[in-house]
Amino acid sequence: MGAQEEGEEVPHEINAIGISFGNSNSSIAYTSSEGKAEVIANEEGDRYIPSILSYIEGEEYHGTQAKSQLVRNSQNTVAYFRDYLGKDFDSIDPTPCHASAHPKKHESTVAFSIQDTESDSQNDVTVSEITTRHIRRLASSASDYLGKKVNAAVISVPTNFTEAQKEAMTKASQAAGVQLLQMISEPTAAVLAYDARSDAEIKDKIIVVADFGGTRSDIGVIASRGGMYSILSTSHDYETAGAQLDQLLIDHFAKEFIKKNKTDPRQKPKSLAKLKLEAEATKKALSLGGNASLSIESLADGVDFASTINRTRYEMLAAKIFGSLTRMIEDTVRKADLDILDVDEVILSGGTSHTPRISQNLQRLFSPKTRILSPSTLPTAIDPSSLAARGAAIQASLISEFDKEDIEQSTHPMVTVTPHLRNAIGVMVVSDDTKKGLFTALVEKETAVPCRRAGIFAAPREGGDVMVKVCEGARDIKVTKKEKAKTNGKAASDDSDLDSDDEEDEEEIREKIWKVGTVLAEAAIKGVKKGGKVEVTVHVGADLGVVVTAREVGAKGGVRGNLDKPRLVENGSA
């Protein structure tokens, strides 16, 4: 009609941020004009905003303020609700909410019964309404900080978020006036946060993202291939996480308190809540320093309590939990049909990852070549708590200009589901020590096709004709047992049983070697100059057809050849 004819509609400006919405804490981040992701501090100056809402006489408190209400007003304080979103009551685990408003069944979803208005009546507030309020507060904090109304976001969610949960999340954020551009998985967000750094180079690598949060731990093994990420395996643990570490400290200090005062502060909800808050603070302090103190006024029966703990003691207490986290990573790597040696990078994410011991354990687990990206092992590491938010912010800045339809089309399975190579493709080279050929991978396995990789190879010193032999290769782990010197073996065995047990384990040296598989093609480059170089490009098409190009760097011509796509009958037989 006429109304549409007139003038250009002012395009709705989209200001998108990244939100990491966790069970315990949330973070918000935006991408600055230089393309750097930065975490936004809320009004209270917090960059990690507890995902907690509390109500006193109709007044809403959020974040840290709400968290402190867990002591005095726990019944009207809603915490740890993220994992309840989009689930029915029967399938949730209400344990984390023990010390706050309890979840209850409400129609098909979960709700909390709280006094959120000035009247004395209890209202049933559904978890999606709580989420809406939480997101609204986050968005308003971001709007205040940026000076622009935030109306869109990318939210990071765990890899095992179901469609129903995603739908509920979309609705909840829509209701908060925030258009949910995309939901990205937390491990990918963490990888993206590292890859988006200006000094990052895009390499083919296997990355383990270990996300240790407050109430759950998630591990994801990701193949990063030319900046594209494919998740190879994941695992989730709701039993070993930050809360369990807090519990250790709570138990430790409670025992100390009982020794002195004969009362158990864990018996009284208020005392327990106080102890819990302080234990968490102590845990954080122990991640930074060797010693931490804890002091609570009127912990129980009006008795003040102050104590200290050092890191060694804490690590001894928590050794079991740390061990299980390490095992969890090992299991997940195995689940992806990979070996520890295949992992090129470990990204530690989530608040619990600040703990130095965890990264030390991982350093021991992985080979020295593996980079452990955590604050205690790498000074340039990004703060683990904010990784997901940063990744989401980067993604938000990338897609905020897109139409909704564009985003939908791009995230459609038609686009995202692609064949991944089962074996690596490489070129045979001559190594110094053996006369046998040595496989050098150009395209790693688990690379999504179509893909294109190039390598520049040295030619023999004297030049001449060279052979380019393109093969498939499989990674193999070679285990060599180191022979022990037998001289002191007898003497040691007499000393003690414990020692000999340790030493009887022969030290194994494990290394990664390539096993040459099917030969794909051979090509010849003739008359390479002395000291010349040969560039080999392998281009794998979407149908698994391969184009190999080889040419001498700086020379004309070169060789180019095609390999047909595998016929369907032959699938798997090769």
Binding site: E5, T416, M428, R452, F457, E472
Partner: protein
């Protein structure tokens, strides 16, 4: 991705290796695993673009590059796309008040909507084209009058006060209200909306409410007309002022001109307000929605009245119904009591009959039992008298129900002993109940 540098050398070509084009395909790739790529990151977006548009790597790179280049072109093309009117190029800069500044800069399709940066860019563009030095270099006359026009236009349009004055009298931006003939053809909203949008540029209050369409609510339509009847315009007419002579010439003359200008401005402003009012009147007259709302209102009122009447009628009917109901209930009750009474009488008679019958049974029983004498013994008159007296005494004492019970017990008995036992039991019961004393009995119960 950049090529990887590999320091280990390639093997030497074995002796005798020959192949056409120096390439020998041997094997094929093993099958692949289908996996989900995470839809995240710049490289994924590139992948999605390639896959959706079915481009190869190199095609995609080329098209992306082209797109980037085009964007810059587009930005420039916006303002110069207008052809220049040769008549306009002949304009004299002295007559700047008469010139259309937007047309001079090639912005006539934007007019009051042109942004400052658009104006600046348009100026730059025209500057480069019409610079006198360039013309001189091209060998044509050193006529720089149009260049001056451009400068003047930019000067006016980049000064917010002057631009507003010019916009006030920029009739080229006006949209004529539809003629009667056009209006009759229909398309009310299509015809009127641009008129109000154009007029709306003078409003101090922004945004200006829109005319809307057939589906607009009553509030929206009312808002719209209220707004336009109370229109607060910034339009002024200084631009059309007569030039005020320099004050050192003649003060009186100057004041005279100033006064004249002021009056002219006021007059024009009043005229403008009147014009706008007439315009809104005309539009209102043709607005079908107003009629529709009135009709709805009337329908609403009628409906209310009808509702009320219906309600009243219903109430009356209800009352009558209730009265009828009461009357009916009363009658029913009366009838019921009548029947009851008649039944009571019948029952009494029946009871009396029963008592009579029972009495007969009782008397009969003693007679059957040979007046309680052993069989064969003849009962004397005295004996009969005594027994019957006893029976009478008992019958006088006991209740009709008890009598019925006794009669049922006695009924059918023929043997004197059995009858005697029943009687003695009954007498005993009555004595125990204190109805009479044993001595009263002459025969029974002994």
């Amino acid at each position: 991705m950049a090529a990887v540098q590999i320091s280990l050398p390639l093997p030497v070509l074995p002796q005798g290796w020959t192949e056409e084009k120096d390439f020998k395909p041997i094997g094929q790739l093993s099958s692949a695993t289908q996996r989900n790529i995470e839809p995240v990151g710049p490289h994924f977006l590139a992948h999605a673009r390639r896959k959706r548009h079915k481009r190869t790597f190199s095609e995609d790179e080329r098209i992306q590059a082209q797109e980037n280049v085009k964007k810059i072109d587009d930005d420039d093309a916006g303002e110069i796309s207008e052809p220049e009117d040769p008549l306009m190029l002949q304009r004299d800069a002295k007559d700047w008040k008469g010139q259309d500044h937007y047309a001079v800069l090639g912005l006539s399709k934007y007019r009051y909507k042109a942004t400052e940066s658009q104006i600046k860019r348009a100026h730059r563009k025209k500057d480069l084209r019409h610079h006198p030095d360039k013309k001189a270099a091209a060998g044509s006359s050193e006529d720089d009058s149009f260049f001056k026009c451009i400068q003047k236009a930019t000067e006016v349009l980049l000064d917010p006060v002057k631009r507003r004055q010019f916009d006030s009298v920029d009739e080229a931006a006006d949209v004529e209200p539809p003629s009667k003939k056009q209006a009759q053809k229909g398309g009310f909203f299509k015809l009127w909306n641009p008129v109000f949008v154009a007029e709306g540029r003078f409003s101090k209050i922004q945004p200006v409410p829109r005319l809307g369409d057939d589906n607009s609510t009553k509030e929206e339509v009312e808002d719209f007309y209220n707004f336009w009847y109370n229109f607060d315009s910034w339009r002024s007419f200084e631009y059309q002022d007569e030039d005020v002579p320099d004050d050192n010439e003649n003060r009186d003359q100057k004041r005279h001109v100033e006064r004249k200008n002021n009056n002219a401005r006021k007059k024009k402003k009043t005229e403008d307000t009147a014009r706008l009012r007439a315009l809104v009147d005309e539009c209102l007259q043709g607005d079908e929605r107003i009629k529709k709302f009135k009709k709805q209102e009337r329908a609403g009122k009628d409906k209310r009245r009808l509702d009320r009447e219906a309600a009243e009628k219903k109430e009356k009917e209800d009352k009558i119904k209730a009265a009828e109901e009461q009357e009916r209930l009363r009658k029913e009750a009366e009838e019921a009591s009548k029947v009851e009474r008649a039944e009571g009488r019948k029952a009494k008679e029946a009871a009396k009959n029963a008592v009579k019958k029972n009495k007969r049974v009782l008397k009969g029983s003693v007679k059957d039992g040979n007046y309680l004498l052993p069989a064969g013994q003849e009962a004397g008159a005295k004996r009969i008298d005594e027994v019957l007296n006893d029976v009478e005494a008992v019958m006088a004492k006991i209740e009709p129900e008890e009598m019925a019970l006794l009669a049922s017990k006695l009924n059918g008995l023929k043997v004197a002993e059995e009858i005697s036992t029943v009687w003695s039991e009954e007498v005993k019961r009555l004595v125990d109940a204190g109805k009479f004393k044993e001595v009263d009995m002459k025969v029974l119960g002994k």
